[in-house]
């Protein structure tokens, strides 16, 4: 395993120390729980608190999205493993300001259970917690079973919308509705070209044969829909695009956000090349790009691959996407 680390079982601890120091102008660590990262802006404004959390190894997700007008507090888990209920609870308590807390997270068994337990603990403290569970990964289950689908890079857009809505002073229900609408209008799909290794395991736990790709791969290397021959960017774009566009479905004249994220080891170059192909396809279908994000926004350690996320907009969502943001993973300057 070619890595610059110390003890493989302490990578999250070691990483957090560095992260907190580098970004002290944007975030800080919870006084009592080193597995909770809090936005410095969290208490500047009376508003609904926004909490998320998830396994580590997805940098800049999740902690990179704590910041002004995004997420207020993040519970941090081990590599690819849900944070404890306790950490979700501490995050919730920390950002509650009397208006309730929206916990916006991804649909994984561990996260579901830990958030559920944390919410029950918070309820005992008279804190209202409502949740939105991201399920944007089209390839992770059939449309009929969409409640089983996983959350992937679309979570970023859910946080963006929820965070922006909360910043307007909206009520908990309004924030939840906006975030739920965001994820309901968002679809993602990933392709994997090379595996990653969990440091504590020391070897890749899946493999992708040279010349092939896993179409529909999950965020932790979960097998996709099928194994395809590695095709050109143009052909890959078409497959990914069709799967997404037909699922919602998106229509002519829609305005959308396009988010392309590398999974870790894929050069930005390839991400822009894929974006270029997606743009051509959207143009051909007369769907307009309102805002595009391309970069390593939601990774899976050093996996080689790319996810494509498209979100359909209405006026409310557009306003939320437009809002300025200042987090480690996403900075957007107001117009």
């Amino acid at each position: 395993m070619q890595r610059i680390i110390n003890d493989p079982s302490l990578v999250v601890e070691d990483m957090l120390k560095g992260f907190v120091m580098v970004h002290k102008d944007i975030i800080h660590v919870h006084l009592k729980n080193p597995r909770v990262i809090i936005s410095n802006a969290a208490k500047n404004q009376k508003k609904v608190g926004i909490v998320t959390g998830g396994g580590s190894g997805h940098k800049p997700a999740f902690i990179g999205y704590a910041g002004k007008n995004m997420v207020d507090a993040v519970a941090v888990g081990e590599i690819f493993s849900s944070p404890t209920a306790n950490s979700f609870y501490d995050a919730i308590v920390e950002v509650e300001q009397g208006m309730g807390v929206a916990c916006l997270y991804g649909n994984y068994a561990g996260d579901n259970m830990n958030v559920k337990m944390a919410s029950m603990m918070a309820k005992d403290d008279n804190i209202t917690v409502k949740t939105v569970v991201a399920n944007d990964d089209v390839a992770s289950a059939k449309k009929e079973d969409s409640e089983k689908r996983r959350g992937v890079a679309g979570e970023i857009l859910m946080w963006k919308v929820g965070g922006a809505k909360a910043a307007t002073g909206a009520s908990l229900d309004e924030v939840i509705d906006a975030a739920q609408k965001a994820i309901d209008n968002t679809r993602s799909v990933g392709v994997g070209l090379g595996p990653c290794t969990i440091p504590a395991n020391g070897k890749p736990n899946f493999s992708i044969k040279e010349g092939t790709m896993e179409f529909g791969i999950g965020h932790h290397g979960e097998p996709g829909i099928r194994i395809d021959k590695l095709a050109s960017a143009k052909e890959i774009a078409k497959e990914m695009y069709n799967l997404i566009i037909n699922d919602l479905p998106f229509q002519s004249e829609d305005e959308v956000v396009v988010l392309i994220s590398g999974l870790g080891a894929t050069p930005l170059m390839e991400q822009y090349i894929l974006f270029n192909e997606i743009e051509n396809l959207l143009n051909a279908d007369n769907i307009k790009i309102f805002k595009a994000y391309v970069g390593n926004y939601f990774t899976s350690l050093e996996m080689n691959g790319i996810t494509l996320t498209i979100m359909k907009l209405d006026d409310e969502l557009k306003e939320c996407i437009r809002m300025e943001v200042e987090s480690v993973g996403l900075i957007q300057i107001g117009e």
């Binding site: 209920a85 830990n114 289950a141 736990n205 932790h220």
Partner: protein, 215 residues
Amino acid sequence: MEYIVNARNSDIVLQIIQAIHEKSQYLSEIDGATGDGDHGVNMDKGFSLAKERIVGNDLSFSDAIKILGRTLLMDIGGSMGPIYGTIFNEIWKSLKDVEKIQDTNVLTALNNGLMALIDLAGAKPGDKTLIDTMVPAIQTFASAIESGNSFSKSLDELSRGAEEGKANTKNMMAKIGRAARLQERSIGFLDAGATSCCIILQTMASAIKGCMQSE
């Protein structure tokens, strides 16, 4: 009437912890076939942490179980933290006031654990999870008790039921968790959680038998 003394009996829990530790690599391998290959690491991490908090403190069986449950809930996360944490927490709640633990006490405790788990995790029998070990184990245990068998004999039945339940997961298609994504491809492999659950139940059964008393 067979029973075990609750007090100063943390050794049962330590044996469970030891069994998980010894099988940790095997559990990860099983998880690797249909999941992400970390089940043994996840389990061992939490259980070893609990061990440090139990050893040398001369605890009762139920208090040791409580610490194991709390450690999993508070410090482990993942899905194993809440799942086993909830089960052990319920077992503790069911046994904490019992001085002499009999077969029916254990049955109630396991049942409560299972119910709380189903409520939390939203999985059903047949989904290819540890529930598919727990359900038949509890059933055969309950029938054995009902049929008038001794506590020790009933524990043997518990172990047999767990073994069968675990083995049956091999032919199931996963409907929940990471492995669900594999659909048909998940058939033909044991479920990792069902396997660890079988180890836990069987180790517990034999550990209880090891300190069985009767009056």
